[in-house]
Amino acid sequence: MENCKRTPLYQTHIKLGGKMVDFGGWALPVQYSSILDEHRAVRENAGLFDVSHMGEILVSGKDAFAFLQLVLTNDLTGLMDNRCRYSFICYENGGTVDDVIVYRKNEESYLIVVNASNTDKDFEWLKSHADGFDAKIENQSADFAQLALQGPRAQEILAPLCEGELPEKSYSFVEELAVAGISCLVSRTGYTGEDGFELYCAANDGAALHAAILEAGKAFGLLPCGLGARDTLRFEAAMPLYGHELTADITPREAGLGFAIKVDNKDFIGRQALIDPPKRKRIGLKIVGRGIAREGYAVLFDGKPVGVVTSGSPSPTLGGNYAMALVDACVANEERFAIDVRGRALEAERVKTPFYKRI
């Protein structure tokens, strides 16, 4: 833990009693009070997360758009200023470099928000494919603190702190919005399956912004939340987590995320590989027997291994235990599976994803 990188909120986490863990080289709280309590707070009221470990890469210049069209699987055509779009960066073989959110500031300037542990890899990947483009690629990750305020009461909590309007539409954002007097980029995005906002401010302002939002949220049941709840929340919403549902060996098509792959619209790195029908598919499973399917456990059909659990957890909102698994495409429409839990076959049935969807 001594060698871990610290976000600008490190002292805040210690002060709030966060249980600090090593998350991909970052010292971050897995929980403050209880994962279950923090999870419930986000579903019923609101939760505040430090996600400053996420990376921010700015791509700018005359050819920024053309360059991004080459490296992103999604199509940025028609993306307006102040709007966000989810996309993948893929290898030639279709394997996933990362999943990212692209913020279009203007025609020649795009902020790419990437997974923490992939920041350096993504930055190098982008730079190595930028030859011949008039595009400047800057890793600005250290400049930002990033907070996520998530939950049905997020708007009520945040609006009174703002000198200006919050972004109204999902996947839109505003820049230079003063929140508690601190200049922020605020987007209506998140990773919990709830309404909410992500706020980017100068690294030095992160702790003050966190304190101001936490104070404002006191009357609304807002809790500071750690990575544990962040994971169970995204899991219920069946959102992929890089390193689990997506890896260098798993294509986004296999992960069932074709909505952000536009092979018909344009050429891009990985396009050819993503045209071929996937050999494996991500499915959702509800555990029928007693036990918890964990990442890495084998999935069985008819007693034979057909895949592997990519994420598995109890669902605090729904009750019961669920799993996402990557299985051979030929069995992906079957109904009954089993999970090999320490040598015991645990019964599971295929269910639709997301497991949880807000009404």
Binding site: V30, S34, I35, L36, G228, G291, I292, R294, P316
Partner: protein, 122 residues
């Protein structure tokens, strides 16, 4: 407060020894480190274990944790209540055992008393 009526292991189990019968559970430190406990896999009555074997599995939201017996023996009863209420291990770890063992011989030389265990975790 660590109860002084029992012994402890460095793997954070407690043992309440009464003759050849030994009740085993997990310590307050263990449940606190695990966080919300959501599943307990109990052994079956009659199962035999060697010293150092894992006899149960306790799972929190994020972690899977094996529970080890420091003494060889056979399971004579289990705490069935944990199947429906695994959170009892969070709420009252010293009042909720996991299993009771019948052991041949109790060798306490490797076990810690309450003071030594407290020193170990501090």
């Amino acid at each position: 407060m660590t109860p002084t009526d029992r012994k402890y292991t460095k793997e954070h189990e407690w043992l309440l020894i009464s003759g050849n019968e030994v009740k085993m559970g997990i310590t307050d430190h263990a449940q606190s480190e695990l966080g919300d406990i959501v599943f307990v896999e109990l052994p079956a009555v009659g199962d035999s274990f060697a010293a150092g074997d894992s006899f149960a599995v306790v799972e929190s939201i994020k972690a899977v944790s094996n529970i080890y017996t420091p003494l060889a023996g056979a399971v004579v009863s289990v705490n069935d209540a944990l199947e429906d209420k695994p959170e009892l291990l969070n709420e009252a770890p010293y009042e909720n055992f996991i299993a009771v063992f019948e052991v041949g011989q109790v060798d306490e030389s490797e076990l810690l008393d309450a003071a030594a265990y407290e020193a170990f975790i501090s």
